[in-house]
Symmetry: C2
Subunit: 132 residues, 2 copies
DNA sequence: CATAAACCTTACACTTGCTGGAAGGTCAAC
DNA sequence: GTTGACCTTCCAGCAAGTGTAAGGTTTATG
């Protein structure tokens, strides 16, 4: 199976698959006589695994760890759980930062008249750091 | 005032200030006879403005637009408001994506026994895309 | 007065996760 | 046979800086 077929079957792009190979997130694909990469069902499992992990929000480095656990049949599920629980904490932290940001932006929007005048609470607030 | 003093006074790092100058977010600083950058109160206002805008969550490109409005005394506050309202929409979108991610991660964590066994709902879920 | 610490300068590389494009080889169809 | 759609590699670039090197200046101290 060619790279573009593997791409379609996994939901990744050919570019992304080559990129994952280059950074050694996945192993080097076997090659046909013409030098083309050739993928089998086992390769596809890995590609799909990575695609799902990435779209769940895991970084490439996190995917690397998840893949190692995936491949390691002697893993303990506690290791996996810990990894994901830590990720959850980071995501929650990121959410609270964005919520803070949203509140600030909302306040700014509400404080700005939005008319033809130059006077603007948003600009004033960014200029001197105080509310307006 | 030297760059490191301007850095302290604005909450940016010297590196970041030079970077902002290089990408022409801010104008080139005037220079002393020794070639050192020299900042006055006016420069500081701009640096602080950018620092606040960045820490409010605006991208550098958005800061560029905000700075243009800041400097333009003939602006209409409606332009500013529109800019910030659009940003707010993008932030809200980002939040909902992260909330989705958090839910998925929470489900994964809850489904994983977290023990000494290899069997793990997280790995299984990433491997075949179904719930476990 | 020498010298060492603490500044300053530039320029380049690295980060994350790809994507786009160039330049060239191969393959399938008509 | 030639067009078009693949494939290959490599280089460049995005955001928003940070780290490091190599070198010049200034300031403080012995």
């Amino acid at each position: 199976m060619n790279i573009s077929q593997a791409a379609k079957a996994s939901g990744l792009s050919p570019k992304t698959i080559r990129y994952y190979e280059r950074i050694e997130l996945i192993g080097p694909a076997s090659r046909g006589t013409n030098g083309y990469r050739d993928y089998d069902d086992r390769d596809l499992d890995v590609l799909r695994f990575v695609q799902r992990a990435r779209s769940t929000g895991f970084s490439v480095e996190e995917c690397r760890q998840l893949l190692a656990l995936y491949r390691n049949s002697g893993r303990h599920s506690s290791e996996v759980k810990e990894l994901v629980a830590e990720k959850l904490v980071r995501v929650e932290h990121q959410i609270s930062e964005l919520l803070q940001m949203r509140d600030t932006l909302q306040e700014l929007v509400e404080a700005c008249p939005g008319n033809e005048q130059a006077q603007c609470a948003i600009i004033d607030s960014l200029a001197d750091g105080r509310d307006h």
